[in-house]
C-alpha cells in the first residue's frame, strides 16, 4: 500500500452506524455512516494489500452529500474538502479490526487516493436495513423567508414550536 503522511491517533469507529452503501460491488466501496453524535461521515475505499483494506473517513454535510448524489458535485469535490479540514485514514484487516488510524490533510493524499475530477455519482445507493430510523433530513430556510415558512406551517396546523422540538439541527442564513 501507499505510504501516507499523517498523524497517528487512536479513534474508535465502532459506534458509527451505517445509513447506506453508496457504491457497492461484492462489498462496499463508498458508505454513508452516522456517528453517535449524529454527524454524517463517508467511508471511502482507497487501497489494499495482502492483510488490510484501507479507507479514508471524512465528515461531510448532508447538503454536500445530497449534491454529490444529485450529480451536482464530484466525489473529488467531497474528498478534497472534508468538513473538518482533515480526513482519517484507517486500515481494516480480515477480522474487521480497525488499526493504524491517521489524521491526514487532503493536500497530503497521494493522487491515487483521490477520485478524478469527473467522478460524478453514477450508482444506486443500497440503504441499510435500519436506515429509516437513522436518516435525518436537513431543511434550510433562508432568513428572509422565515416568516412566510412559519405562516405555511401555521396554515397546515403544524406550529413552528413543534418543528423546533423535532429538529435536532437548524441553520439560519
Amino acid at each position: 500500500m501507499q505510504e501516507i503522511n499523517g498523524y497517528k491517533i487512536e479513534y474508535d469507529f465502532s459506534t458509527f452506524r451505517k445509513i447506506a452503501d453508496l457504491v457497492y460491488l461484492d462489498g462496499p466501496f463508498l458508505s454513508h455512516y452516522v456517528s453517535s453524535k449524529g454527524d454524517d461521515y463517508l467511508f471511502y475505499w482507497v487501497d489494499r494489500d495482502e492483510k488490510d483494506n484501507r479507507w479514508l473517513v471524512l465528515r461531510v454535510s448532508l447538503p454536500n452529500l445530497q449534491k454529490y448524489i444529485g450529480k451536482k458535485i464530484s466525489l473529488r469535490d467531497l474528498i478534497a474538502s472534508p468538513n473538518d479540514g482533515f480526513l482519517y485514514a484507517v486500515d481494516v484487516d480480515n477480522d474487521l479490526h480497525y488499526h493504524d488510524v491517521k489524521l491526514i490533510q487532503p493536500t497530503s493524499l497521494p493522487e491515487e487516493y483521490l477520485p478524478t475530477a469527473d467522478s460524478f455519482y453514477d450508482f444506486e445507493p443500497v440503504p441499510a436495513e435500519d436506515a429509516e430510523e437513522l436518516m435525518t433530513y436537513e431543511l434550510t430556510i433562508p432568513y428572509k423567508e422565515r416568516n412566510r415558512f412559519e405562516d405555511i406551517l401555521h396554515k397546515i396546523g403544524f406550529p413552528i414550536s413543534a418543528l423546533k422540538k423535532m429538529a435536532s439541527r437548524a441553520a439560519v442564513f
Binding site: 462489498g27 463508498l30 489494499r48 483494506n53 491515487e112 477520485p115
Partner: protein, 150 residues
C-alpha cells in the same frame, strides 16, 4: 421422482446469514446466458470468489451489526460487455485503485442452469449469481479485455 434441489456452493455460509435474519433474494435460472465479470488476468490470482471469502474481505462491519446481505456470497455479473465496461469506467473514476480489488480485466462465459441461479438484472446490467455446488467459473470464463488500458 422429484429431483432434489441442488445445494449452493456456499450453502453453510448462506444458512448462517439466514439465521441472522437475511433472506435470499428471488432467484432465476440463467438459461445459458452470456455473462461478464471483472477479473485478474494474472494466473496466480483468485478469480470468481465471493468477496466475503476473500482475505482481506472488503467490509466495514460484521454482518450481524447491519444488514445481513446475502450478496456477500454471490458473484457480481453483468448482462453485456458494454454495461460491464460502463460500470467499470465509473468505478475507476471514483476509486483509482479499483483494479487492485476487483481486477483489471473483463471476463466472459456462459452460465448454465447447472451452474447456479441469478437475481433479476438491474437496469445497469448488474446481477448477482449464486453458484451451485460443483460450479467453477474458472473453467468456463475467459479473460477477453484489459479495462485499464485507456
Amino acid at each position: 421422482m422429484i429431483a432434489k434441489e441442488p445445494k449452493f456452493k456456499y450453502q453453510e455460509q448462506i444458512e448462517k446469514l439466514v439465521a441472522l435474519g437475511c433472506q435470499l433474494p428471488e432467484l432465476f435460472a440463467p438459461d445459458n446466458m452470456q455473462a461478464y465479470r471483472f477479473a485478474f488476468s494474472e494466473s496466480g490470482h483468485q478469480n470468481h470468489v465471493p468477496q466475503y471469502l476473500l482475505n482481506p474481505k472488503r467490509m466495514l462491519q460484521e454482518i450481524d451489526k447491519g444488514r445481513a446481505n446475502a450478496s456477500l456470497l454471490a458473484l457480481s455479473c453483468f448482462t453485456t460487455s458494454e454495461k460491464a465496461e460502463a460500470f467499470y469506467t465509473s468505478l475507476r473514476k471514483a476509486f483509482r485503485n479499483v483494479a487492485i480489488s476487483i481486477g483489471e480485466s473483463l471476463s466472459e462465459g456462459r452460465l448454465t442452469n447447472e451452474d447456479g441461479r441469478k437475481t433479476v438484472s438491474a437496469p445497469n446490467g448488474h446481477f448477482d449469481f449464486y453458484e451451485y455446488e460443483g460450479c467453477d467459473l474458472n473453467k468456463t470464463f475467459v479473460i477477453t479485455k484489459n479495462l485499464t488500458n485507456k
